[in-house]
Amino acid sequence: MRRKRLWTGLASVTSFMLVLSILGTNCMMGYAGTVNQALGISTSKVVNQSEASDDTTYYESEYGELSAENLQKLIADTYDESVVEEEEGAVLLKNADSALPLSDSETKVTLFGHAVAQPLYKNSSAGSSGYKGEYCIDLYTALTNAGLHVNDTLYEAYASSTTKRGNGSSTFGQEETEWSMGEEDISFYTDKLKKSWADDYNDVAIVMLAREGGEGVEVQTDDEAEGISQLALHQEEKDLLQMIKDSGAFKKTIVLVNSGNAMELGWLDEYNVDACLWIGLPGQRGFEGVANLLVGDANPSGHLTDTYAINSLSAPAVVNGSYNNQNWTNLDEVLDVSEENDQDISWYTAQAEGIYVGYKYYETRYEDTVMGQGNADSNVGSSTGTGWNYTDEVQYPFGYGLSYTNFEQKLDSVEINGDEITIKATVTNTGKVAGKSTVQVYAQTPYGDYEKENSVEKSSIQLLDFEKTEMLEPGESETLTITGDKYLLASYDYVKAMSYIMSGGQYYLTIAENAHDAMNNVLAAKGAGNLVDVSGKAVSGNTENVYSWNEDFDNTTYATSEYTGEEVTNQFADCDLNYWVENSLTYMSRNDWEGTYPDSATQVAATDEMIEVLNGDYYEKPEDAVSADSYTQGENQNIPLAAMIGLDYEDEQWETYLNQFTIDELATIPADNFGTAEISTVGKPAILAGDGPDGVGGTFDEEKYGDGRDDCSFPCENILAATFNKNLLERRGELMGEEALYLGMAYVWMPGTNLHRTPFGGRNFEYYSEDANMNYLCEKVEVQGVETKGVHVGAKHLAGNDQENNREGISVFFNEQAFREGALRGCEGSLTEGGGMVVMHAFNRLGMKWSSASAALCTQIVRNEWGFSGFEETDAIAGDATFKSHFLSTFSAGTNVYCLDFSGASTAALSKQIKDYDDGYMLGLLRDTAHRYLYTIANSSIMNGYSADSVVVSVTPWWQPTMYGLIALFAILEILFLVFLIRGKKKEVIKVEGEK
């Protein structure tokens, strides 16, 4: 009897283990790519049939062979680069009476603000985890290493406090799951703590304030703490600053802004803050750079890539964007008739602001206020409720940044030759310490009758290009030559010319240290008076730094693509809300600020036609589609992928190579899981991809290289952009490319190219700027840096994914001028001038269509206009969103690959369509995808080591036989225990019968 229970119990245990192992294995197989990536397993290896006569290192590491020793050099360089990026990217916003750098006698400091004990290295998102480990340097350590003595009493109190900042993204396995500002209540500062700085450590109060967003986590416009903008100063922070001020203990108060979003800083004077430094999110080593800046071992040279508004809610883009997205007014009807998930079809945002994002709004309205144009000084959009006034709205303009020294910038010459505008400018260090200076080139293009009649909006000032000097000693000069691309000054006329135009009339070009100074220079050149700087002080502008010329109206030069010769014309008419519902959306125009400023979010009902598009099924097999049999399939001629290395995209040999694939083999390629599986029959190795604008996200192979740490978590992308240093941008790219070489990645998802449409974007920290031209210029050189390593770059997210709130499936409405000059241009430089071979689409819809289903975007713009020959991939389709599962619609629109298609749903859908419906058209698209994907891979560093006689051998990951072994073990045990149980029961029956 006892044994029977024992066997029953053991059989129950093994039953549970068997179920667990079977379902667990099934789940792991579904996520095989992710499991392999986490375990650092490649599922293929190269076997060379004979001694390779040719050199098979197609892309070399600049450090020489991939080795333990060279990896250490690379790691050291990435850490050094991080420090320099932070030194050159952090922006000195205020420095009253040269409070910074600290003097040699100012070494005893007290760190205030909970963030000093919980620094924000990076917001939650993909990429490197290097900031979590032992190789991360925090603010405290960095300051101590720099020779400062920190008040440990207060620091320890912060460190042991239960208060924690959280972004509310329910982070599992980490400390915080609740949204919280994470600042201490004033009661935290006990008398004992106050004594710690009253008696000592009172040379300097260093206050660090953090603002946290993240992937899928928009910074709040109406926050859970006080119902105010999360970017505003909160009560606990006010109390803290007041306490420091009232104590009178400190000689200086320094504020560090630890945020990837532009914080509201209109309060600095009120609390007697002497200096303020925006440090962004410094990654794992950036705090060393911050410390160097504070003690004067480095001189700040960073400049803002965003406008810092006094009131973040004053940006017109906020009216419809961020948390002000709207539901269709007939939402119930929409949900009733659609089979899509409710969340994915419920929201829309109408970009009524048009082109006027960031400085393009504030500076344009400033010019119009000064010039008395377009009712610019009316109350609409005013933060004070009275007439709109620039100095009431802007705290620090785009491009702003101070230094410990002074510079004089002189415009030497401007030459215009075709598309090229060559600017020479001389910079002289007129101060007392060495430093670097940024020359920012801005232009104004005409806003005349043609533009007003045809709704061609114009920013009054526009960044054309920039360069940075080398380190200039006091008195030293350097002449910079900057070559701007006139294309970046063209305007898109979607009404009349339906293409890019160069407006006719007077053009102005100027150099300046920020957008507002540039604006004043141009206004002065136009003879305007009543100019003010950002503090409200009267200024006269510098007309000597202005160059002016005249252009004839031109609607032809940029009406064809410079890359393909394709006609550039309207493609996104259906993304304008007015296309669907007449007069439903008024776009803001500088011609009439009062009449066009969006005073409330646009309300609209989705029409039947809109709902039909929302449903996402667009594909119908063309009537003239050829049979699938018209393509050669499975004709294996033993041509490996390595034989295709270096061949032109158009080379006929590609057709022969593709003829080797069966439909099933071809159909595996669109299913990406941070890489794709090997196809050994055609010599295609397994592919691994990285992901992260500020770190490719991987762990070095300890067995191979003797070091198992994470790749570098660099400072956030907007710190990198704020360096205004193209050499640093390019170097970041090169170093990330080098890391990818060690990590075996063929391509990496970076940089982030969306716009800081509002200051609240949860991922602003991994996008460069509010300005599309700035993005264009930054990504061009950073992408080039990565691509030189044979690692391909996939900019993300194309296009319009400028907010995290409702990002999946939200319908984004805009006019074509705003889209082409904004969201599209923000990514364009990566694919065209940058040479990036991969691109990731966005989660949002363009109008009613998901971006990956927009033929206008995926085919017409990316391929036909930009001449892109790489592959296009969706953003992640894993999860539950049905709007991403219309594979035939998206594939026929031009999408090639599906990101994180764990289950191979795209493979199944495409294969079924081709086989069940004899759809040769779809097979043709599949071959095109294979061509694009494999061309990209063949010309990547992943082919290092492969030659034409190499064989790709599949490698079964060790965990798979292990899991199957466990299933077998538990099954055998189960059977065994059941047999014992049955035998025991039989014996029991015999025994009972015997007793009877």
Binding site: R5, T8, V19, C27, S169, K985
Partner: protein
């Protein structure tokens, strides 16, 4: 009733605990799942079947039925966890992409309730359900 219970051994009460936990988790799951894209008929069927089998066990002791009940509850619990991998990935990475990280607490609590049913059933399997006279 008292007479019936007097005959029952400790194992019986573990079966009762398993049923109570299973019914409670079933109610929680059926309330939670439709609102969070978590509905899975296999999970419901497995738990319902487990409950039915356990109710049968409360009337008549049977080793095979007990093992089957463990299998049913195990399928329910493990299926819920594997269905929710995306939410766990999001929660670990601190992002909102593959699942719904805000539901990790609910997913875990429901799973734990079902796993406790599994545990109670396994313990019951090692014990007598009817006192030996």
């Amino acid at each position: 009733m008292k007479t019936i219970l007097e005959k029952k051994a400790v194992g019986f009460y573990f079966v009762v605990i398993a049923v109570i936990l299973a019914v409670a988790s079933l109610i929680r799951f059926t309330i939670w799942a439709p609102n969070h894209h978590g509905m899975d008929v296999i999970i419901i069927a497995a738990i319902v079947l487990g409950v039915v089998l356990d109710v049968f066990l409360m009337i008549k002791e049977n080793e095979y039925i007990l093992i089957l009940a463990v299998v049913c509850y195990s399928i329910g619990a493990v299926k819920l966890l594997t269905n929710s991998v995306g939410s766990f990935v999001d929660a670990i990475q601190g992002i909102n992409m593959f699942g719904d990280s805000s539901q990790v607490g609910n997913i875990l609590s429901i799973s734990i309730m079902i796993l406790l049913s599994v545990l109670a059933s396994i313990i019951a399997a090692f014990l007598k359900q009817i006192k030996e006279l």
